[in-house]
Amino acid sequence: METFYQAMRRQGVTRRSFLKFCSLTATSLGLGSAFVPRIAYALETKPRVPVIWLHGLECTCCTESFIRSAHPLAKDAILSLISLDYDDTIMAAAGHQAEAILDDLIKNHKGNYIVAVEGNPPLNEDGMYCFPGGEPFVEKLKRVSADAKALIAWGSCASWGCVQAAKPNPTRATPVHQVILDKPVIKVPGCPPIPEVMAAVITYMVTFDKIPELDRQGRPKMFYGQRIHDKCYRRPHFDAGQFVESWDDEGARKGYCLYKMGCKGPTTYNACSTVRWNDGVSFPIQSGHGCIGCSEEGFWDKGSFYDRVTSIPQFGVEANADKIGFTVAGTAGAAIAAHAAVSAIKSTMLKKQDLQPLDPATSAQNKDKNEEKV
């Protein structure tokens, strides 16, 4: 990867100017001249990738999740792995001092920074349902993304729209890939995503200097390639027909399968049943509540969280998200009708209409780009 020094040189900055920059940096930090060569050395040899973490319409659960990471620890990620230069939730600077950092990154790190987006832009009311810094968030997102190396769409808000985009989506909250069409967008869905998965995606990118292998929907295959049901420790109870029939019944106390209580594990692609949550302590099913499918597109509009899933595609563990995706889209009749029919998925078709890309043509190009390495 290009170091900060190389980037500056490429932009026509002389060595003399570079050293002057180091000197100014030292001065602005209240450090003596002895620090200048050390700062210069660091910038010449081992830069950390600058990350701009933007917040649109969101609830900050993704940031909260990120700081829960046990490996790497959030402090090590922030101090040693990336350079989290802009994140309104934790940054020291505010107002003009904060916005000056954005301007500097866009100008001096062109093409070298990662934009991590938490939340999404609303498009109604000229974007003024969210206007940090006095301008519509969608404009800020576009401005900052124009010179980004890649984008990470943290969580279900940035990836799919999530709760504010649930019907009737009053603000027209729109996922990132429908607004930023000319950059790779790595979707890391979930409400929020698993802490260690978030940390793993970003460390993968800085360690291997490429974006992870993505599935057709733009999610890293390594964490979103299998359904929760496939790897659920309660799966043997499903296969044996042992179900929780009612909250706190004998089956609940024995840890039986939560399928009849509405568990969405059979249709949800995520790593909860393997990586688990908060340093592996538990995950929703282990703690007695069904999966609500929070990493799936439009999961808010697929009926009640307690409605039984009526379409479990007949695939084994080896089926990946892409194949299942084709199956669901292609043959609606592939549903298992063995269980009592509930209208859990009748809104699926509507959901797809709601989340059409703004421009299907450019979006398709975007999809191709997603599959390239940066």
Binding site: G95, F131, P132, G134, S246, W247, S287, G288
Partner: protein, 596 residues
């Protein structure tokens, strides 16, 4: 132009200073102030700059699902909206929850308190007081002496601080300061000596490591954090201590993990958080006379932590309940969340329309349609706002009032009410803290008072986790393992129409959800949220809210570096996603409302 309200004189004739974004908060907040020739704030304008419209999204949904939607109002105070929601549904449908469910909910709510307060102090608020770069100049040995003089916390050796300082040095020398870039280092209002700064930086990092441990309590009972799972009628986590299959339920191993985290949390609060607040506060005693705002006039708490399941009366609630107005602390008024003339929301200066914008509406009768328009005196354009016009509509937050009064809510409000109810568990720690700082009782009405009350409350909540945990064990020992009541799980058992109110004290203050159910579906859903109380704009009478009031009269050392504004706003722990999601029951027509 100038006018008087609530004892403040608002004058917007001086230089205007704009802070946007206000960082180190949840969500998006803008603040504009006017300062006079002495750099003293004479007018303050608080603006919520986001709106999501969750309540309109809830209309027509299954009330049993509502907790999951409203939980996503906020991922910082995660769980507290969900708890409020299941209480509202249970109130509407008259569902009684088992004692164990109440205890587990209380443990989870208390875990949230400690986590939220700790992260607020160390990761959102501390950089207002702590100069990270100054820590490089500290003597590690003297830092160790300082740390050991205020606490028994073991991570305090000279070597520990030396190692930390070298890591910090390497970090600064990299020239990539990350989140510490462009901070207010060397600002004249920064008063800590280098050793105190180094100690605080160490605890910033330790607290970052430790906060992820506290939330494991949510993970055990709720499956994950942020956004654990809840259940109308109880809790979804079944208890199985003796039988086959216990490994798939709350068992002895799970309970031991909870117990161990509780012990560690109590220790961290007592040995790190509170000593740090006293030590840092000691260098900023001037802030015990700055930022009081409404705290000395009008404060309110709904109360929370029911000692007995299903009893939400004042006598059952462990956190105090009541309202104080006009500075009369010897008179604590009861609160009725159903009374149409008590809690009302105004939109005179909010980007919504009631038709008649001079009236206030009770949440059960709330009507809201967004109406985004800028006043004639704004500067900039509609999509590039340089300066707002506070004489017109200027925020996505509504203005709630209690019997017409603007109220401050939050930890300080709770402690002021508990203190004046002469409850020892609130009064004694406050008196001890005031003694340690050598400050009078009036020092509580301040930026520092707010920050200190939050620290005391963390310790209170950590100890309450132990209290509720021990009661849970006693119940299990007595053979009671019930966690859910499913008598009314089936919507067929519900009345055709029902309405209910759920309330909690969220970490940031009084939180209420007002719910109407019709034909087993949500007919209307209204949330009135702590940051709405504190951050809301002016009302029809021009009365200012807690944020605006708290900034009045503050002197800024360097107006272009708004450190003083950040200190006071942060002392409320702003949560903007919470405050700005509100929409009324006729929100179904929202999409057809023509706004311009």
């Amino acid at each position: 132009m100038s006018y008087q309200t609530q004892g403040f004189t608002l004058d917007n004739s001086g230089r205007r200073v704009v802070v946007d974004p206000v960082t180190r908060i949840e969500g998006h907040l803008r603040c504009e102030v006017n300062i006079d020739s002495n750099n003293i704030i004479t007018n303050a304008v608080s603006t919520g700059t986001m709106w999501r419209g969750l309540e309109v999204i809830l209309k027509g949904r299954d009330p049993r699902d509502a907790w999951a939607f409203v939980e996503r109002i906020c991922g910082v105070c995660t769980g507290t909206h969900a708890l409020t929601s299941v209480r509202a549904v249970e109130d509407a449908l008259k569902i009684k929850i088992p004692e164990n469910a109440n205890l587990i909910r209380n443990i989870m709510q208390a875990a949230l308190y400690v986590h939220d307060h700790l992260v607020h102090f160390y990761h959102l608020h501390a950089l207002d007081w702590v100069d990270v770069v100054s820590a490089l100049k500290a003597d590690p040995k003297k830092t160790s002496e300082l740390a050991q003089s205020i606490s028994d916390w073991p991570m305090s050796s000279p070597g520990y601080f030396r190692d930390l300082q070298s890591r910090l040095k390497r970090f600064v020398e990299s020239g990539q300061l990350g989140p510490f870039r462009n901070g207010y280092w060397g600002h004249p209002a920064m008063k800590l000596p280098p050793e105190a700064n180094l100690m605080a930086v160490a605890h910033y990092l330790e607290a970052l490591d430790f906060q992820k441990e506290i939330v494991k309590i949510h993970t055990i009972f709720g499956g994950k954090n942020p956004h654990p799972n809840w259940l109308v009628g109880g809790m979804p986590c079944a208890i199985n201590i003796d039988d086959v299959g216990a490994v798939g339920a709350i068992n002895m191993e799970r309970l031991n993990l909870v117990s161990q985290i509780i012990d560690r949390t109590i220790t961290f609060c007592e040995q790190v958080y509170i000593p740090d607040v006293i030590a840092i506060g000691g260098f900023y005693k001037d802030w015990a006379a700055i930022g009081g705002g409404l705290a000395s006039q009008s404060v309110m708490s709904y109360g929370d932590f029911p000692d007995h399941a299903n009893d939400y009366s004042e006598s059952s609630l462990l956190l105090p309940r009541g309202a104080i107005i006009n500075g009369k602390f010897n008179e604590i008024h009861p609160i009725d969340l159903y009374a149409p003339d008590e809690i009302q929301e105004f939109v005179t200066h909010s980007w919504y329309s009631y038709g008649d914008d001079s009236k206030g509406l009770h949440p059960f009768d709330g009507i809201t349609a967004p109406k985004f328009e800028l006043g004639a005196n704004h500067k900039g354009t509609k999509t590039r706002i340089e300066q707002l016009d506070e004489s017109a509509k200027y925020s996505w937050i509504k203005s709630p009032r209690w019997k017409g009064h603007a109220m401050e809510v939050g930890p300080l409000a709770r402690y002021l009410i508990g203190y004046h109810q002469n409850k020892p568990e609130f009064k004694e720690p406050v008196d001890k803290l005031l003694h340690a700082l050598g400050a009078p009782k009036e020092a509580l009405f301040s930026t520092l008072g707010r920050t200190a009350a939050r620290a005391l409350e963390s310790s209170w909540a950590a100890n309450k986790m132990r209290y509720f945990f021990d009661r849970l064990i006693t119940n299990i020992k007595n053979g009671d393992t019930a966690t859910a009541n499913v008598e009314k799980w089936d919507p067929a058992s519900w009345p055709a129409a029902a309405k209910g109110v759920g309330f909690t004290e969220a970490p940031r203050g009084a939180l209420g959800h007002w719910l109407k159910i019709a034909d087993t579906r949500i007919d209307s859903y209204q949330c009135v949220v702590p940051t709405t109380w504190n951050a809301g704009p002016r009302d029809a009478k021009g009365q200012i809210g807690a944020y605006e009031a708290s900034l009045m009269g503050t002197k800024m050392a360097v107006p272009d570096q708004p450190l003083e504004i950040l200190r006071t706003l942060h002392s409320f722990d702003p949560c903007l996603a919470c405050s700005t999601h509100v929409i009324g029951e006729d929100g179904g027509e929202l999409v057809s409302v023509k706004v311009r």
